[in-house]
Symmetry: C3
């Protein structure tokens, strides 16, 4: 290992980690664009606080459990910590979307603490920490399962215990549409996540000290990009067919589903295959949204459809298309991690519900939790300007 190799490896992790940090902004913008204005301050506060808390807790407890002490190796130990810590925050960000518009702040933060201290690092240690799943041959390059479906399972457990937003389902069980409040923000959030994903997937090569490394990273970048692009086009076509109108919210989720799906194995496929993986991911995600509604699992931002459903698909796709990986092993990994995370999350949510309560009062929920719980509207527009009075 020459000095230059050590420098290049370390820089890759710092550069990529900064991009993954940026995904925290992406989730904050995406989610605040998709909820109602009356719950926007809440989701912004949750997003910046969950990022911060998960960094602190993973530093104090989680990292050691997952990887052992921070030491220099082929790259600086601290650069590895920096890259890994932003992954935990990503997992937690997925959850905040699903439980939006009705969960109290501190109980949510309590869950984030447990997730970052125990649930995430424990299951992560099984694969990325060199544990039994990696010995079985389970493969998850950048975390379709270990990050995205984990966030999805934890969110699902929370959503079940929390129940849907007031007024979300009619008496006959059909959903009331609650329109998103700010689509430019949601679109910006999607672009931020897409950009961050180049770090998320590219950095997961963990080295750029050889030609083979940068060739692999180049494949990761192009496959990540084309899977997302295909997800976009797929969702545009599907919503045109199903609803006779291209639906922007679904298109954004199509991009994210493509990204989540390619994440388990962005290094091995051809670009044509990456397109297929993204296309199927976006299709499954589009179909999953009405399915969760049938089950009355209320997910204001579609995080379950994107991160859980496309995450599972992406992990299985590696077993299907990569001849070196067994589909059965992939299935086992998905199942074991899913069962562990769903059950442990359910227990943790349940205990928090008993001790602190999960849900704001109906009065506060109706009024909007920005004013009732956070004391601040997200938007305070001057009325005279709204009325077109400009002088």
């Amino acid at each position: 290992m020459t000095d230059t190799q050590y420098i290049l490896n370390t820089f890759l992790l710092l550069f990529s980690g900064a991009l993954v940090f940026w995904m925290a902004a992406g989730f904050a913008m995406l989610e605040s664009g998709l909820v109602r204005t009356k719950n926007t301050t809440a989701i912004l506060t949750k997003n910046i606080c969950l990022y911060s808390l998960s960094c602190i807790i993973f530093f104090l407890i989680g990292y050691q459990m997952m990887y052992g002490p921070i030491v220099n190796g082929d790259h600086s130990g601290l650069s590895d910590f920096f890259f890994q810590v932003v992954f935990v925050a990503t997992t937690a960000s997925i959850i905040s979307g699903t439980i939006a518009e009705r969960m109290k702040f501190w109980p949510f933060m309590a869950f984030v603490a447990v997730l970052s201290a125990i649930i995430y690092p424990l299951q992560g240690s099984w694969t990325w920490g060199g544990g039994f799943l990696s010995e079985m041959g389970f493969t998850d390059f950048a975390g379709s399962t270990i990050v995205h479906s984990v966030g999805g399972w934890a969110a699902l457990a929370g959503a079940i215990l929390l129940g849907p937003r007031y007024g979300r389902y009619k008496e006959d069980g059909t959903p009331n549409l609650i329109p998103p409040s700010n689509l430019p923000l949601a679109t910006l959030g999607t672009f931020i996540l897409w950009l961050g994903w180049f770090g998320f997937n590219g950095g997961s090569q963990l080295a750029m000290a050889t030609r083979e490394d940068v060739d692999a990273i180049s494949a990761v970048f192009t496959n990540t990009n084309i899977a997302a692009a295909t997800g976009v086009v797929t969702s545009a076509i599907l919503t045109q067919i199903f609803y006779k109108k291209v639906d922007l919210t679904m298109v954004l989720n199509g991009a994210l589903a493509g990204l989540v799906a390619i994440t388990a194995g962005p290094d091995y496929p051809s670009m044509e295959l990456a397109m297929l993986i993204g296309m199927v991911g976006a299709t499954l995600s589009t179909l999953a949204i009405p399915m969760f509604d049938k089950l009355k699992i209320d997910d204001p931002v579609g995080a379950l459809s994107v991160h859980l459903v496309a995450g599972i698909w992406g992990t299985l796709a590696v077993g299907i298309f990569n001849p070196n990986v067994s589909l059965m092993t992939q299935l086992s990994g998905v199942g074991l991690i899913g069962a562990f995370v769903f059950l442990s999350s359910y227990i943790v949510w349940y205990v928090i519900k008993l001790v602190m309560g999960l849900r704001v009062s109906l009065k506060n929920e109706t009024q909007g939790i920005d004013i009732s719980e956070f004391g601040q509207s997200a938007y305070t527009f001057d009325n005279r300007q709204q009325e077109g009075v400009t002088n």
Copy 2:
């Protein structure tokens, strides 16, 4: 070529490509900030879909035509593809602004497909693909002509066939001002584009394996930045003189005009000369806006003034100031590419108009195409909050 050189060259293209990808977000924010709220979902949908479609089409068809097969050379072949593909998307993004608020979605996407498959790569092959313009000595470092004026010419042809927005010009031909809806978004978009431009121009050095390379990239960064900065200050001063008020929209366009102008040759000039090039670019762009209005060519975001006018100026400036480049050759390149792109685009738009129609109905345009064509408002603010009722 050592391994380290190969790694550094490849990383430059990946890093720069990610920054150019980010420009897609910049165009989406800029354009959605400048159109009216009732057409904001539309422009967001067009922007994310055009990026995605142009990536797919350029992969399937365009790249090969422009550069030949994807192979490793002084850098990974896929990293070169990644860098080049985001340029095509930039070209297409320019068009979406000019045709905003009145064009149907799928006809626009059809044009994007043809642009990415044929028009862009064919003219691009003449210079960057080693074709006859490069043999003539035509020089366009990062694409003032090959990207920006090409986008401008294609947009111009579309705008002519499409006609102005309803109510944009009075019966006597003078323009009605349609104010932009969201200036923070437009400003954010400009900053995003400015940041992305460091990748756009810096990455166009295509290598950072020698001292000469990074010295050149350093010059590119500083010249790009100072040309944009001078564009800003120029527009601020000009609008103060002309309108007695500093006009933010024009200032943003001044930044972009400075960026477009320096793009044809950001590597050779001194910073003083870069300032001059940016200043002239912003001045021409500021003057072009009323000129297009005189011609009743309606361009909601000023894309023609910025990308076409400043793009031509920047390409000619290389002929004027760089002693190794002939002004006549630059003029020839600008003229040949302009004639080809304008004519071929006109024909393609015309065929699309015949087959699919270009324009939404007057009823839908008046109502706003977000609701009538996309079924979703971009902003759904809670009325009670608007009225100041906060509990």
Copy 3:
């Protein structure tokens, strides 16, 4: 010095400089989110113009005064210029927040010109230019004092001469709360600044040609991140205790206070110590906000509390915790720089006030300076959509 070392050092400065450029967007979003809608165009215009002007002036005058001519050394001279110039702009950005909603445009720009030409580079030369403060042993790694408190002192002098916004304080001296207009923008701005800070602090290592360099940069990244994260959590807890509600605006300022505080020495501490430094920074910043209100120094965005107060703390913290640095020397540096910048800024503001006037008329201030001074509302929402009429 090998070619590879020269390339890596140069690239670090270009990469980091691009991230610091991005902070200009962060300040623009943060400040436009915190002011009222009627003054949003103004703050956006000021932010993009101040960045641009300070780049031009620092190139023409300031850089030479601070560092001498632009020459190649261990890295490309232009890459060093690029990195340094974005620091000046950061200093100027701090000021625009404090004087928001009431200062005229051109007088503000005149101050920015003097700051970039003389005040910033002169005091900067004392430490980073190898002057007497660096000889005394004064240490400021990335500018808690040299950038952030300098911006704070200059802003303080301006705020005193300018006076508070109309209606900001009641007759009995207690403050009227003026709510922020757009918290998603403010949150986005904070995330942008946080991302940019990795370049701000990481790039200040100025080299990545050795293992020691990248180990140091890794420490800088992790410490910067954890100090900000701790600032967030600290402010969340403090506002919960003080106000019984987590206050998002204060949480955002907590992140920034943590970042400012760690900036004077992000390379030496353990992560635990970085947490402590961030925690104290956020606490002091939270306490400072009511203190400035007692003094009737009106600071619409809390820039003084964040940049001045946490900047001083961070610089002193190096003296307290780093055994190689003397607290007395740190105190001297803070005091000398503070005295010079406050006094010289006060004189410059005073002269500008005499010659051009600083403040818009009461009529214009009441109406909002977007319309009265800039002729353009930042937000123009279609009324029918606001009323829920969507077709």
